[in-house]
């Protein structure tokens, strides 16, 4: 098991190198640093001196891959590639194009992100499993059909509508909670209720429908018939036998997103003005801050790969039939 995990972590390294090279190519080969400077300083009226200064301030004035002007190892290290891409491996994100320390910002902002993403994740799983079990219990009845139709309708609605309508109904009409904002400590709760509800409701359609098929698949199996044959009630069969087995695909499916909870939700955070990593990313995109986007791409990939490894470990934990070699 330990050996397997170590091998998986080692296997992640070439993938991260690939991600790194790809983003580097995307940001520095498609456009030169001069182009970036011109965009930031305004395309039309820009002096060559201003471009040189802009690049110097951000360390973009070095050669891309190979610095012939230096001696020894500096030939490779005193380059844009080493300073802006290789250092990401040490989680040294450097400074944003506005001059802020990205690593510090990320550390500050991941807690508000987590404060929204974690409740959405946990409450979401609970709600989705409850609903899908309910539908599975009433399978073949009108309630089941109506539930599935409702699921399809709900998944046909854009996530943005849920947010806009939620804000309008709950905050503007009923005035139950503030429209948006964030606070530290227990004060944050009143700001978090609405985004969490919206996040959970937005995901109900797709997840409930998917989980329902997991339950139905298990219900059709032989051991369920055996359980019924020995006289167990339908509820008992559902909770003691079916639930446990249906949890395997559900758990292994959701584990992959756990590390990504740190990066938060783009839409929820920006609509509700939560100072998390999601709104950080959106702000960076809007202000065209390439350094932050690059850092977030790398961070997102690291967390996603961590999620994949976690998924494989969960497989062995919840399903004894799976052996990792």
């Amino acid at each position: 098991m330990i050996g397997y995990i170590i091998r998986r972590v080692l296997y992640a390294i070439p993938i991260l190198i690939g991600v790194n090279l790809l983003t580097f190519a995307l940001f520095f080969f498609v456009n030169s640093p001069d182009d970036m400077a011109r965009l930031h300083l305004g395309v039309k009226r820009v002096t060559p001196e201003a471009i040189v200064k802009w690049k110097e301030d951000r360390g973009y004035n070095k050669p891309l891959l190979y610095n012939a002007a230096n001696a020894g190892a500096d030939k490779l290290t005193d380059t844009i590639f080493f300073r802006h891409s290789v250092k990401l491996f040490a989680f040294d994100f450097g400074r944003s194009d506005q001059g802020r320390d990205i690593g510090y910002d990320i550390y500050q902002r991941m807690w508000p992100s987590l404060a929204i993403a974690l409740p959405v994740f946990l409450v979401g799983i609970l709600v989705h499993i409850t609903f899908s079990m309910l539908l599975a219990f009433f399978r073949g009845t009108y309630l089941d059909t109506a539930g599935v139709v409702l699921c399809v309708i709900m998944m046909s609605i854009s996530a943005l509508f849920y947010v806009i309508l939620g804000q309008y109904l709950v905050s503007m009409l009923l005035r139950l909670v503030p429209i948006s904002g964030y606070d530290v400590g227990m004060e944050a709760v009143k700001f978090l209720i609405l985004p969490v509800i919206v996040g959970v409701v937005g995901g109900v359609g797709a997840s409930t429908r998917l989980y329902r098929t997991f339950f139905l698949e298990e219900i059709g199996k032989d051991y369920v018939r055996t359980a019924r044959a020995k006289g167990l009630s339908e509820l008992r069969v559902l909770f003691r036998h079916v639930l446990k087995n249906a949890m395997i695909p559900i758990l292994t499916g959701v584990v992959v997103v756990i590390p990504l909870l740190f990066t938060g939700s783009l839409i929820l955070e920006s609509f509700f003005a939560v100072p998390g990593l999601g709104s950080y990313t959106i702000d960076a995109i809007h202000s065209q801050d390439f350094a932050i986007v690059r850092a977030m791409v790398f961070l997102g990939s690291v967390l996603y790969i961590a999620g994949l490894i976690l998924t494989d470990i969960t497989y062995t934990l919840v399903d004894p039939r799976v052996r990792l070699e």
């Binding site: 991600v19 456009n31 182009d35 998944m155 854009s158 806009i164 390439f290 986007v293 997102g300």
Partner: protein, 466 residues
Amino acid sequence: MPFQLVFLLTDVLIYVLLAALIAFGLYTAHHEHLRVPWRQVARRPMAMASLVILLVYVAVGLMDSVHYRPLLEGQNRGEAVYSNEVLSLLDKATKPLRARAEKTYSAPFAMQAYSMETAEYPDGRHVREYPRLLHGGAHVQEAGERVGDIMLRVGAATLAGFGIWLLIVASFLLFWRRHAESWMLTIRRLVRGEGDFPRRTVLVTVGVLIVLTANAAYLSLYYHIFGTDQVGQDVFHKSLKSVRTGLVIGTLTTLVMLPFAALFGIMAGYFRGWVDDVIQYVYTTLSSIPGVLLIAAAILSLQVYVANHAELFDSATARADIRLLILCLILGVTSWTSLCRLLRGETLKLREVDYIQAARALGASHVAVMARHILPNVMHIILITVVLDFSGLVLAEAVLSYVGVGVDPTMDSWGNMIVSARLEMAREPLVWWSLASAFVFMFGLVLAANLFSDAVRDAFDPRLRK
């Protein structure tokens, strides 16, 4: 010529897609084993009703995909001069809607503007009032007559639509009537829903759509039926123009990713060894970058490129079009990995099957085995993925536009309408019609696509086939 045809890049790809669809349809029609699952789809009333709705969207989208530049009148000095403005057939059909712009917001069916203005009367008085709209309800004299006028026009349009529908039903009956069968019997067979195919459902759906279209077409000549936006443009017209954007993103994305996914997925599963390793490495790397961030990175790079190479794009339409195409490409890059993985797994299983082994033993080349034996046997996976992905891509457009990496902000799209609606919802009084209009149009397309793709999946997935 009174016009000059313009072929935008996405237009050309749409034509290619259309040709491919027609070829696929003809091929299917000539092969019995391929027709069977489609017949199963055709038996589901819900799927066929959805198909009718989808076809209406496709018709609007196709009309909006034939672009031209009109001839400028009055300034030809011997040679033809064409306008810089690129128009489409849809623009031509909805010219009255485009031409009748107001000053700013106005509610659906309103005849007065949304905000008060100070009007100066000839006798020198200054009065704060809601000014009359330039076009919306301009034919109505008194405010009290408005509701009656709307009712009258709804009635007329509904009657006309119903009449057209009856003609369609009659011509269908003419075609469906058995030899020497009484008309009453044919009608009764239809009403009872006899036969394998849901003819009744389809005809009712067609009827509802015709009545709705007749109402929309007639009423929008006199009112702004979905109101107007901040700069006074008709929201109904904007929603119609957005149809093409949604369809392009939903279809072209899969079109550009399909060849890669199919080729790489089948090669990885078939050759195994180092080919498999390389392909797996590529798709794991691509899929480990969170999709939105990869799209953001690519679109940001594109923005810089376009800003620095403005001379390459001769019109704003072309600039918006290239961005739409790049968006499709990037969305394709982020979404081909899952299909590639599925195809690899299926090919791994297939290559051990007897008929593949036999083909190899008889001396068929690798290319022939992959193209003639493996590809047809994974076609159902490709088809299911394509139809299931469609609705997700249409929804993704809205989110991406909100994040700021979607289609060009000047392009009509439901995403852009929703983004602007965010500020409108904070106004007092509320401006809800842009949001409502985008919602109705988007919901109609996505729901129909979801229902149709469910039927396709049920018919093609061998695990679900009974």
